[in-house]
Symmetry: C2
Subunit: 268 residues, 2 copies
């Protein structure tokens, strides 16, 4: 399968694309460009991160799910491990390259082991690896994945340096087509209440509760229209074609603006 | 008032601290260090960003609100404007310094006006300004606030380049003491359900609905324990000492783990 994903080589998105069996990969500069490539049929699918178990939702992906008319076809959970790569020992390190989300996931490690280090934030873990591979000097270090360390031939000094050992990133594969029910599916929708009265969230989730539909996630995001106004990304078990679910979505759509982002096989 | 906030000079946090009347400022490297300075009484208060109207919650602040036993004393809405600073014209620009959240707020502008530019992500808008001030060369540009441009003597070529004109960041002032009711307050709590059964969010918000309490925000965050398990940051109108609210919080606490993060005068 030919997919587009976030580049450069060595990102978690690249690793996930390979694990999902991609045999040709278009590397893009932003998540918006990944969606755009799928919409323009430059590739069959796009692989994008949607949330991390420590940090929460990836806002560019959530925004693009609203902007584009594509469907989620698959979800995948990638276990995340960060590692300290450098050319010397801990006490030699003066500069640390890290993506800012990676840094926040390794904050205690950096505070305890590298309190005086100068931090250079990068735009991705792969870029951190590239920066270090360009500076073969023991004063430099980077927080990288094993996958990136392998690609850029880096030396890992300390493995698994993130503060919480349980760390996953959930990825979506997006495409132009809907997927059929498998019997063990999940559906993602976004609900835009367009009113900001008290109790709106209650009215959004009550129909699911009444129908006995198992909500697996609800994430509120700013509506971008007014401070204190939110839209809701909701995941639940089942396929949009299941009778109970299609009735509930119909009921919800009569009150609120509802967009179905896709039904796809559950990974957890 | 002596406060700690996110440095270096020129951050939105710095600007907010001055607008709130701070006359002495301790600049810290991370939000965790701002909380720590307040807890250790190095200063009277800490000024931290909590959410942006376009991007959503600031995870380091939400994490620190859980970790530390401090109280929210005040909220403040700072209007956010991003500007393109450079030494020459648009067509001269080859490298753009930007914080990654700023970049995502100016994505359409950059896509349309600077499609081929090389992006160097920085750890803050103030650092973007410092990087540009260190390179007085028309090939370089940065996305910065007017405040940072003034401090670092930069030239603004294009004002207000963010994609959505309505853009606010909400800040909290945190301290060691609780604040008294003013009659126009808001309260923030975090609820950790510790069970992951269907309908848990429904049970969390139903008591508020039943008591007629006006929820102004609900934000789900990963519990960090298990994929698909969430905790909820909830804001509502009123003070924790109000009778209706104290009864509702008591009811909620009998079912879930609830932490009151503070009651404080409403800014909107």
């Amino acid at each position: 399968m030919k997919v587009s994903t976030l580049g450069p080589k060595g990102t978690f998105s690249h690793e996930t694309s390979l694990l999902l069996g991609a045999d040709e990969i278009l590397f893009k500069r932003s998540i918006w460009e990944v969606f755009n490539a799928v919409e323009k049929s430059e590739c069959e699918g796009g692989v994008v991160p949607v949330e991390n178990s420590l940090v929460g939702g990836v806002s560019q992906t959530l925004d693009s799910l609203i902007e584009f008319n594509l469907k989620i076809n698959k979800e995948y959970l990638l276990p995340i491990h960060h590692n300290l790569a450098c050319w010397g020992e801990l006490e030699d390190i003066e500069v640390l390259y890290s993506h800012n989300l990676t840094l926040s996931q390794c904050e205690k490690f950096v505070r305890n082991y590298l309190p005086k280090v100068e931090i250079h934030e990068t735009s991705s873990n792969a870029i951190s690896a590239i920066e270090l591979s360009n500076r073969k000097d023991k004063r430099y270090a980077a927080l990288v994945s094993e996958f990136a360390a392998e690609i850029y031939k880096l030396k890992i000094l300390k493995k698994d340096v993130q503060d919480e050992k349980l760390n996953f990133t959930r990825f979506f594969v997006i495409g132009n087509q809907s997927t059929l029910p498998t019997g063990k599916d999940r559906t993602s929708i976004v609900v835009s209440p367009s009113v900001n009265r008290p109790g709106v969230l209650y009215s959004v989730i009550k129909p699911f509760y009444d129908a006995g539909i198992d909500l697996t996630k609800i994430e509120s995001r700013p509506s971008k229209k007014k401070m204190g106004e939110y839209i809701f990304f909701i995941d639940f078990k089942g396929h949009a074609k299941d009778k109970k679910i299609s009735l509930t979505l119909k009921e919800l759509s009569s009150i609120f603006s509802v967009k179905i982002l896709g039904s796809y096989p559950r990974a957890y």
